[in-house]
Point group: C2
Chain length 346, copies 2
């Protein structure tokens, strides 16, 4: 007799879709007026609350010790990370930050000094992103669990969403990919081998920084939204291909073609790949945690954007109407590839 289905059989993305589909049906019974966007935004990085000329943007992201915090992450870095992942969701909507609420589930025996260091990390990140810690609460829990709610705002006509990509648009990212993935590979390897002697210390420091202390592209998101030339955007938390899949789900009928040669894979990722027998391109495409922004941009406007100060835009492909993700390799050969992002619960 087959056993009853468990949630791990479905995987995170399908679970969320199951949840949000039910939610949309539920919304039909609402008496209160709800703007089309507030409901539409349930599949976006953050929720939108319509206030006439502006949207208030609210993200919510939960991180837990066993899934998200490698042993090598300090309490200070853990505090920074809960802020960064939430700010990244707000940045992906082109919004600026106002403040964050951090709810904490804490194990009874957590050292007070670790708690203080974690709070210091939260506050340092708040300073980095120029916003306030506007609330928080603590609960007892079996494992360290942090849930952040970042509140931001964006003028309505500037908001960036996952929907809106059009065939012909340029596909671009705000920075190199695969650094966090390479960092996690180094961490895992160094748990058995004391240190990878052959790895350049600067490369090692760079990839570990991206794995343990990532940064959100807040300034970039605000700057890009200001230009009014983006057709869609999201942040790369679950891997490039997975996020492209999200953009495609939100803009039915489109497809994306990538140039393998144009994916910005830094030297450090190449080197880690070589030393650990991992495909660097795979690290750039299918691991997450890079927190760069993935964008689609009207073709005619892309040149002007490239020259904007403070941006490091990389064109990686274009939107088409194929309905699939394709990759053109260095020999000009086109191949259909499958979206394969990092899946919790799998």
């Amino acid at each position: 007799m087959p056993s009853e289905p468990r949630i791990a059989d479905l995987g995170e993305k399908k679970l969320i879709k199951r949840l949000l589909k039910r939610s949309r049906i539920n919304s039909l019974f609402l008496n209160k007026f709800l703007d089309e966007h507030s409901v539409k935004s349930t599949s976006d990085d953050a929720a939108l609350v319509d206030l006439g000329e502006t949207y208030v943007v609210a993200s919510s992201d939960m991180l837990m010790q066993s899934t998200h915090f490698p042993d090598e992450m300090t309490p200070h870095q853990i505090g920074k990370k809960i802020v960064t992942v939430n700010v990244s969701d707000v940045a992906a909507m082109g919004a600026d930050t106002i403040g964050i609420i951090v709810s904490m589930g804490l194990p009874r025996d957590m050292l007070l000094s670790d708690f203080d260091e974690m709070v210091e990390g939260v506050l340092e990140a708040c300073r980095d992103y120029d916003m306030a810690l506007i609330g928080g609460d603590t609960n007892e829990s079996r494992e360290l669990t942090l849930c952040g709610t970042c509140i931001g705002f964006v003028e309505k006509y500037k908001v960036l969403m996952k929907c809106g990509a059009q065939p012909g648009d340029v596909v671009a990212v705000t920075g190199p990919l695969g650094l966090a993935a390479a960092g996690f590979e180094v961490l895992v390897r160094e748990r058995s081998v004391r240190k990878i002697k052959s790895l350049d210390p600067d490369f090692r420091a760079l990839v570990l920084k991206h794995a343990l202390q990532p940064e959100a592209r807040l300034k970039e998101g605000v700057l890009l939204a200001d230009t009014g030339t983006l057709t869609s955007a999201t942040d790369i938390t679950d891997g490039l291909l997975s996020e492209i899949g999200e953009i495609m789900d939100a803009s039915p009928g489109i497809g994306v073609t990538l140039y393998s040669e144009k994916i910005p894979v830094p030297e450090a990722v190449m080197e880690v790949g070589r030393l650990m027998d991992k495909d660097p391109l795979e690290m750039a495409l299918s691991y997450g945690e890079d927190f760069e922004l993935l964008l689609t941009i009207k073709k005619d406007n892309f040149k002007d954007l490239k020259d904007l100060e403070g941006l490091d835009l990389h064109e990686i492909g274009f939107v088409d109407s194929s309905g699939v993700i394709q990759m053109i390799d260095k020999y000009g050969k086109t191949e259909i590839i499958t979206a394969k992002g990092y899946e919790h619960l799998h």
Copy 2:
């Protein structure tokens, strides 16, 4: 040698105060303009974001299996509860709801049917409070963990906060106290004794409903805020005395005198107290989870409020300038009592 201090040595309230004190110092370094209230609201039930004539209100509350969900609570009731605790925080500010984001930490082996039932509970509660589920995400975790973020709004001049109580104000609550506490007593007892035969079945059903499926006083909060006669408010999640302590912390120099005879302790709580050898008044004063609102009201306006339809206001005492909480018993004897609410992490 004394061991290093752990967070359990401090307790939840002191931890939050420690966190928010650091947060206020941090805010001094902010470049972005932040309204006095957005910072002030860090000790309130929800955060306030200033938008000119209105505030957007954002709550964030986390619940975990081991601390908040008794085994007897069904997945449907668990789903309802994460919504209710957050709506209660919004209601305590006199705000109306727009929507809620629910982040979930789920054990791998959770039954899909239980997940669906829990989501149905979330959605039913959304219907009850006339709002939308505007976002959600799922993560893998060791124990079931839910974090809700309820977004609401309130016209600025109507907002209710913990600060503002004045000597002479009437202290009131929106309904009976101690029912949830009595329900939890019954649950605990029935884990060893199959059923408490001598307990009236109607009483049993009533107290269990309050323990397992509490409701937030949203309509009452909005109605009361509309009158413009309240000087302060909060919701009773941690017990009446603990919440009075919060109001006193926020309005320095005041004290509160209660009449023991006027505390609304229902028959069902009296009966459970009698059968289980518990003090019914203690259940009403010091346990939490009732989700009624605690209010201070200008004395001259209280009579008009009592006649408002849809309210069940109980006057329980008055604000004074004693700096302590005092209780006048049925013989007219006054005694100083100590705030003693439910403390997580203790």
